[in-house]
């Protein structure tokens, strides 16, 4: 896929940056003229991925979240959200709907289910004590 635009962001794992991250991604894809649904879907998926970094990846320490965005010439948007936090021992289990390790904090365990439902493709790579990278892929213009 030929990349026609890209961006890189890094910000601390503060919960106020959940809104910043999804708004930045919305602005990044705006010249693709997304439908309201496409925009809402991608913003929701990014919000879930960034929240996971804050609530799970950096729950003990805090740290930096890295968000890379790319737009392909066919309108495919790829967003990579990466943390250097505690990692996930069992990714398959973590991706099961309703599975959560933070029930006390009223986490519903739906983050990955929402990402998968709202994107065309979701990839998760994680190493315990090293961190997690979530890659979200969505083609803008597929709604037409």
């Amino acid at each position: 896929m030929k990349t026609v635009n890209e961006m890189k962001l890094r910000f601390p794992s503060k919960s106020c940056n959940e809104a910043f991250a999804r708004s930045a991604v919305a602005a990044f894809i705006m010249n693709l003229d997304p439908t309201l649904n496409e925009l809402s879907d991608l913003k929701t998926a990014v919000s879930e991925a960034v929240t996971n970094c804050i609530v799970h990846g950096y729950r003990r320490t805090g740290g930096t979240i890295f968000l890379d965005g790319k737009i392909g010439e066919d309108g495919t948007v790829v967003i990579k959200v990466r943390d250097k936090g505690c990692g996930i021992a069992d990714v398959q289990q973590a991706m099961q709907p309703l599975f959560t390790t933070a029930a006390d904090e009223e986490r519903a365990g739906l983050g990955f289910a929402v990402m998968q439902s709202f994107c065309d493709r979701v990839r998760v790579r994680s190493t315990p004590e090293k961190g997690t990278t979530v890659t979200l892929e969505k083609k803008i213009g597929a709604d037409d």
């Binding site: 919960s15 929701t44 879930e48 009223e106 986490r107 519903a108 289910a113 929402v114």
Partner: protein, 100 residues
């Protein structure tokens, strides 16, 4: 962020703006404090003014459902937009009978 009314034993919270992990924490503490002091028969969460919601909204609703059960009352949700409702339906919340 939120306005509330209390009438005929019903506490209604009109949530406005975006619901994510950050704002849900604030909404939760405000609603819980009011419910604890007023002890309403019903808590109604109105999503008509919500412009964005991720799965933090599901945790918010499930937590208030449990809270109202403990207080001997019930929870209802109203005016959820299609995008908000889509996330609620993914969670199976409709089985609790709280969605109008």
């Amino acid at each position: 962020m939120m306005e509330t009314t209390y009438e005929n034993n019903v506490l209604t919270a009109y949530i406005k703006g975006e619901i994510d992990h950050d704002s849900a924490t604030r909404i939760r503490s405000t609603v819980d404090a009011m419910a604890q002091s007023l002890r309403p028969q019903q808590l109604c969460l109105d999503f008509g003014g919500v412009s964005f919601m991720d799965s933090s909204g599901v945790g918010l609703v499930m937590g208030r459902y449990r809270q109202m059960k403990l207080l001997g009352g019930s929870l209802h949700i109203q005016n959820a937009s299609d995008s908000v409702r889509r996330i609620f339906l993914m969670s199976g919340l409709q089985s609790l009978g709280v969605l109008k």
